[in-house]
Symmetry: D2
Subunit: 258 residues, 4 copies
Amino acid sequence: MKLRVRSELVYRFDPPTDAIFQIHAAHWPAQKVLEETVALTPATPFRLDAAAGFGTRPLQVRLSGEVTVRYEALVDNGELVDLSPRAVQHDWIDLPVDVLTYLWPSRYCPSDQFGRFVERGFGALRGGARVLAIVAWLAANVDYRFGVSDSETTAARTFIDRAGVCRDFTHLGITLCRAAGIPARAVSAYAYQLTPPDFHAVFEVWLSDRWWLIDPTGLAPISGLVRIASGHDAADIAFLSTQGSCDMVRQAITVEAA
Amino acid sequence: MKLRVRSELVYRFDPPTDAIFQIHAAHWPAQKVLEETVALTPATPFRLDAAAGFGTRPLQVRLSGEVTVRYEALVDNGELVDLSPRAVQHDWIDLPVDVLTYLWPSRYCPSDQFGRFVERGFGALRGGARVLAIVAWLAANVDYRFGVSDSETTAARTFIDRAGVCRDFTHLGITLCRAAGIPARAVSAYAYQLTPPDFHAVFEVWLSDRWWLIDPTGLAPISGLVRIASGHDAADIAFLSTQGSCDMVRQAITVEAA
Amino acid sequence: MKLRVRSELVYRFDPPTDAIFQIHAAHWPAQKVLEETVALTPATPFRLDAAAGFGTRPLQVRLSGEVTVRYEALVDNGELVDLSPRAVQHDWIDLPVDVLTYLWPSRYCPSDQFGRFVERGFGALRGGARVLAIVAWLAANVDYRFGVSDSETTAARTFIDRAGVCRDFTHLGITLCRAAGIPARAVSAYAYQLTPPDFHAVFEVWLSDRWWLIDPTGLAPISGLVRIASGHDAADIAFLSTQGSCDMVRQAITVEAA
Amino acid sequence: MKLRVRSELVYRFDPPTDAIFQIHAAHWPAQKVLEETVALTPATPFRLDAAAGFGTRPLQVRLSGEVTVRYEALVDNGELVDLSPRAVQHDWIDLPVDVLTYLWPSRYCPSDQFGRFVERGFGALRGGARVLAIVAWLAANVDYRFGVSDSETTAARTFIDRAGVCRDFTHLGITLCRAAGIPARAVSAYAYQLTPPDFHAVFEVWLSDRWWLIDPTGLAPISGLVRIASGHDAADIAFLSTQGSCDMVRQAITVEAA
C-alpha cells in the first residue's frame, strides 16, 4: 500500500539539549521509502544513520529554543498481512541470534513475572494461535482509555489497571508473548485510518521464521502501517527522547493513501 | 594478557526446556580466542552464532535431564586499560547509531528515574571524571554482600538497599551513567583473581569514541577480564536463560594466567 | 468450639534486639481465653497489654541470645460462622468510625490500584455475594504454593504471580474487598486441622454491622480459628517483629480440640 | 496559640458516591476547639464521630452533584514545641501498646526496606538527635517541588526522585524514623503562615513518652499547626477520600491568628 505520511513536531528546548527523533520511515526489506524530506526550523545540523539490522533511522541533534521538525515521506509499505493462527513457534535453537534479545524482559515489559499467568491461561496453545489468544484476552480485559497511564507505566501495572493506550496494550502484549517463550518487540508506526491521528505503537512477534505485526488495540489495519522504529519497548522507539526536559508546543501527524 | 578460562555447568532440565548459555568468550576486536572447546554431556545438538555488532556468542540448545556443559578457552584479551578521567563525553549527535540504545532505561536499570539524583550529585562533572565519581560513590555507599538481592532486584532497589553483589553494582552504575546521558551497558566476563571464582558482571561506558570497561565492585583487575556477553543489563547477558525452571547441580569456573 | 493451642518459638537474637511477639489469643467479645500460660527461657521481663478496640495482645520484650517462647492456652472461640451471601454492604456513612481505616490501602494491600479490576469483575454484586465471588475468583486463579512469595510480596505482585501462601491470599482478598469499598483487615490465627500446623493468616470483612472471618485458602474451617491479632495487613499482625534480624532455631504449633 | 481556620471545598460527585472528609480540628488533649461550624450545600445528612484514641473526626457522607463543604473553627492549639535533641528513644518494651502500629511499614512508607540506609547514615545517634539528623538530611537532599510526585508516590520513590511536596517529605521522614525503630505517624494540619495556604502534611514521632510534631519541609512553624487527622500515612489522613472519582471545582483554606 502506498501512503503519504507527514509529521510536524514543534517543541521548545530550553536550555539546549541533546535530542533523538525517531520519525523516519524505517529501511526495512518489505518497505520502500519512495520520497522523503525532513526539515528543521531553524536549520540545525543533524545526523541520520540506519541502525544495523532493523533499519531504524534515529535523527540525532542538539537543539535550542523553539524548533519545528517537519518530516514527509511517500512510502510503499509492501503487503502487510495479519498474523496466521498457523504460524509456528520455534524452539529457541531455531531462532536467529539477533532475535534472542527479544525473549528477555525490558524496562516496560517484565515478562519474567508472567510465566505462571501465561502457562495457566494460554499453555494449551502454541505459535500464532497462542498469540492471537493473548490479543483476544487483551481486547476482552483491557479498556482503551486516556489518562490512566503515563510515561512510566509498565505492563505489570497495566495488567492491574486493565486500561491504557496503544503503548500500554503493546507492552502487555509483548510481555505475555515473551513469557510464553516467543520473541516480541515494539514497533512505532504511522497508521492509516487511526483516529485521532498520532504516532501509533504496535508490536511484532517472531514465528515461522519472520516477524508478524500486531495491533493489540485493533484501532488501525495492519495493512496501513508505515514502520518507523523497532526495539525492546517504548524506551527504544520513542519518537522523541531528550537529555533533560522539553515542552511540546504542538504536534500534527497525517497519513493518507497515495 | 593471555588467560585460560574454564567453566563447568551441571544443571538438571526436567521437563525438557529451551536454554541459552552465554559462556563463550566474545568475538571482539581487541580480544582473540586462540583455542576453544565446548562439550555437552550427554551429547546434544546446539547452535552457536555471533550476534551482529558486539560478538556475543549465545549457545542455543534444547536440553533434557541432567546435562554437563564444559567450556574451555585460551584467550588473549588484549591490553585492557582503566577508564581515564579525561575520557570525553559526547553530545548525542556524535554517538554511533548502534550505541544509542544504551542510553535508554532497561529491565534492571530504570535510569529515567535518576536524572535529578545524578544532576544533584554529579552535575558539575562530565565524561570520565563523572563516571569515576559515580564509581567512587558506589564504593562509598553500597556494601558488597550476598543475600540482600535476588534475580529480580533492580538498580532502584539497590539504591535503597545499599548492598548487593556484582550484578547489582553493575546495574546501579549503568543506571546512573545513563541518567547522566552517557551510554552504558552490562558485560559478563571471566575474571582473573576474582575470589571466589565465578562469572563476573561489570559494565562499560562509551566515551572518547570507544567502550571503557569498569568493575564497580573493584574485585577484579580490568586487565584480567575475558569478555563474554554484552547487553542492556543482566536480562541480556545471563550465562544461562531457560524457558521454565531448571536446577543447578554444580558449577565451577576457573581463570588462570597462561 | 473449645481448642487447646500451643506455640513454641526458638529464636536467636544476636546482638540483643527489641522484639514483639503476637501469639496470645485475642481478647475478643466472642472468644474466651479460659486458661493461658506464657514462658520465656531464659526468663526475661516482658510487657503484655491489650490494644484498644480489637484485643490484640502483643508481647513486648528485649531479647538476647537463644530464647524459647512457649505459649499455651485453652480457648473457647465461640460459634464462628461462614460469611453469608446476604450480608449487607454499608454505605460509608453507616460505618463505625474505627472501621474506616480498613477501607484504605496499606503496605501489602494497594487497593487504590484495583478499582477498575474490581468494578469490571465484581461490579454487579454487593455485600456478602461480592466478597464470596472474590474468594471464588481467588480459588480459581491463584495456586497455593510455597516458594513464590516472600516477606515483601504485595497483593499487586500476587495478582501477577497467581500463586502464594495464606498470607498472600489474604492480602489479595483484602485488597479486592477494599477496592470494592468494603472494610477488610488481616487476622492471624491458630487454625484447627491446618496441615502442616502453622500460624495462619485469614481476613475479615465488615458487613451487616459485624466482622466476618474468611479463609481465602480454604485450608482450615472458620469454626476452628483462634484469633490472635488483627490489623491492616501482615505488617500489623506478624507473630514476630524485631528491630534488626534474628534467626529461627525451630518453631512448633499445635491446635487440638479440647 | 489561638487560630481561626476555614476551609471551603467545592467538589462534583457524579455519580453519587461515598465520601469521607477529614477537615475537622482533632480532639486532642492539648488542643481545644473553642468554636466550630460545618455546613454542606446543598444540605446533606452526615455522620461525625471521633476515632478512639487519637481524636480524628472524619465526616462520613454520601454526596451527589456539586457540593460545597464549609468548615470554620476557632482553635487553641496549646503550646506546641519543637522536638528536643535530648528526647529519649524507648526500647520497644516501654512503648504504649497503641503506639506499636506506628513502627510498621504502611502503604506509602515501606520502612522495611530502609534499615541498612538508616543504620549506615544515622546509626551513631539515638532519639531526638537521630530524628533531627534525619530531618536535616531531608532538607539537604530533597527539593520541595510540585509536579514530581502524585497520589501514588511512595517514600521509596521520593528517596530516588529527591523532590516532592509536604506529603512526600512526611512519608520519607516517617519511613526513615520507623526504619530506626522509632514510632512515627502522619498528621494533617491547618498551618499558620503556610504559603500558599493549603492543607499541610507533617509527622510526629514518639520519644520521651509523648508525640513530637515535625514539619520536614520547614515551611510552617510548629507552634501554628492545628491538628486535623493522624494515621499511618496519607492513606489514613486524606482530607477527602471517595469510593470512585470526583472532580474538584475549587478549594480555599485560610488560617489566621485570633
